[in-house]
Symmetry: C2
Subunit: 350 residues, 2 copies
């Protein structure tokens, strides 16, 4: 049996609610499989700014560095979105945490669940069977380059990548493809960007190490179209930070709800696991937020702990909730369940 | 009656075929409405590299500067795509032409044609009635910033924007919204990028000049999702160069075929009109390329010449081809027509 220390960052909006259900499920797993998980709750995001003035307090960062894994709800508050020039913003906390933990690989699986095909804006026959994995680089590119204003008022954002930054995530993506359908698509804009040309060079250089993986290259504009036209063509998609941000939100339409999509951010130290959805402030406290994305993120955490049976049990319990239609309102306009009811049903099912 | 000098850049792949049909339609318009259009054919793209070593020969650029408008087919060749580090590439010609003509506003209308709803991968009820206009900034941002490699091998691309670059396209977008459904959406990533924060500031500053236009702000990741979830919510979308490249290709899925989407690039001098689709080399010479995107680009040119009746006549003839199912194979898997047959049918109909 395993003993693991998990830092929980509930964050803002519906973050605390969905985190609560993910923790409930992790506790059920610990009990059923005989593990010991401890949960250490910390502040990050707008709630941390309100309480301490900083979106990522020192104490939170220290705790994350000592943890075995981090579970994050969501961060963000409209009062900052509408005032993007505010000096202190919740997003800074998330970006600083990613950087500090060295979480360079953000992994976002997208699955078209048979039970939910009707909820996608896409035609069921186009998406049925889709099962893809997006590897988004998370600590480089335009997110972390120099940015500011020149004396004459020009704004700038610098995008940079070096070989090492590309190599380490590319190997992870190739290994993932090896264990799946052996197909890797690099998405870039190599007909325009120098950083993209470096991505292509590095991936072309690594490809021979994985002879069984078929590699192809797609420009990002074309990829944004192909993802909707024919998502089944993709197995593992590898891309840089900004393109990955856009494509992974876009790909969420395949699953039928952003409330279903989990993510794992991995690097040198503790992994971080969070739903792809945001803080959804309008839904806060109403019990209508879908906890499945957070719960599936917890399943990715179990996988990361080297507990595949436990992860499988969680996924099976989620699939059961889908089949039995124990679902929050966005997926069940008729008879719907609350966030807590969905979480409890899944926890009970593991 | 008007006399106009049009430079035609057929380019690569299917470019010459679709341009041929757009010219056929423009000639029909000239005859029916009593105008005089002259057509001056020039080299650009891979064909220009093959012939002269340069993707944008001096003679082509000079001709464009003296023209009233430019009609472009498509550029690009797989031999360059697969070798992105080639020193000379067709795309350089297009980017240099945009810059030299000062074509800072790229306008891409996206319409869900009633007759073609069945061809979209999206559910018909989600897209019916969609009619949106993307204003993509075309001569700034990461496309034209400094790029290269540092001595230690790091690749970089600099994204910059100044107030003037944003102001001039924003005014165009606001004026377009005034004449439509009075709604403008700025798409940016203001929670991360300094250039996006400047875009927001400038647009917020201009908005009071257009009190009847409702403005909203969307992060690009969310926009990529909303465009598929509920495209009818958009009237005019305004965005920077790279985001516009991605979102406009993505939005093409609404129309059912990239072969239907026209574009206009406007600025200080002569406007440039081109289909959104690329050179589609696999289809070259087969007579299967859809000429409608090029023909609708010609209609945008007529509008630009101040000939709204003529533009309307072309659009009506296109709608008639859609209704009568005089269509290329991608839209008519059963009984299809060739590029030339579709072009002739439309030219005959104006
Ligand atoms: C909140 C924001 C900074 C973040 C990002 O852009 O990375 C979010 O959109 C995400 O995808 O995790
Ligand atoms: C060919 C390429 C340079 C171009 C761009 O990225 O602008 C194309 O994708 C477009 O959208 O016109």
């Amino acid at each position: 049996y395993l003993s693991k220390r998990i830092v929980v960052l509930p964050g803002d909006g519906v973050g605390p609610e969905v985190c609560g259900e993910a923790v409930r499920v992790l506790k059920a797993v610990a009990e059923r499989f005989g593990h010991r998980f401890t949960f250490d709750y910390r502040l990050m995001g707008a709630c941390a700014i309100d309480a301490t003035g900083s979106p990522l307090p020192e104490a939170t960062l220290d705790a994350c560095h000592q943890a075995d894994a981090v579970l994050l709800g969501a961060i963000g508050d409209p009062k900052y979105d509408n005032n993007p020039s505010a000096k202190v913003r919740p997003e800074q906390g998330l970006l600083a945490l990613r950087k500090s933990l060295g979480l360079y690989a953000n992994i976002r699986p997208v699955t078209a669940y048979e039970q939910l095909l009707e909820f996608s804006p896409l035609r069921p026959e186009r998406i049925a069977g889709t099962d893809l994995l997006i590897f988004r680089e998370l600590t480089g590119g335009v997110y972390f380059g120099e940015k500011g204003r020149t004396p004459d008022g020009t704004a700038f954002d610098h995008c940079t990548y070096n070989r090492e930054e590309i190599t380490r995530i590319a190997h992870r993506a190739f290994r993932a493809a090896q264990g799946r359908r052996q197909q890797l698509t690099l998405v870039d804009k190599a007909n325009v960007l120098e950083t993209s040309r470096l991505w292509r060079e590095v991936v072309q250089g690594i490809a021979p190490d994985y002879p069984e993986v078929a590699v192809d290259y797609l420009f990002v504009d074309n990829a944004a179209m192909q993802l909707i036209l024919n998502p089944r063509q993709f197995d593992v998609i590898l891309t840089e930070n900004m393109f990955g941000d856009i494509l992974s939100d876009e790909a969420s339409v395949i699953a039928g709800s952003l409330g279903l999509l989990p993510s794992a951010s991995l690097g040198d130290g503790a992994g971080l696991f969070e739903p792809v959805h945001g803080s959804y402030p309008q839904a806060k406290g109403k019990g209508i937020a879908n906890p499945i994305a957070a719960i599936l993120s917890a399943a990715m955490m179990l996988e990361y702990f080297g507990l595949p049976d436990e992860a499988r049990a969680v996924r099976a319990a989620v699939e059961n909730a889908l089949s039995e239609e124990v679902l929050t309102p966005e997926l069940s306009p008729g008879a719907s369940y609350t966030t807590e009811q969905v979480g409890s049903f899944i926890a009970y099912g593991v």
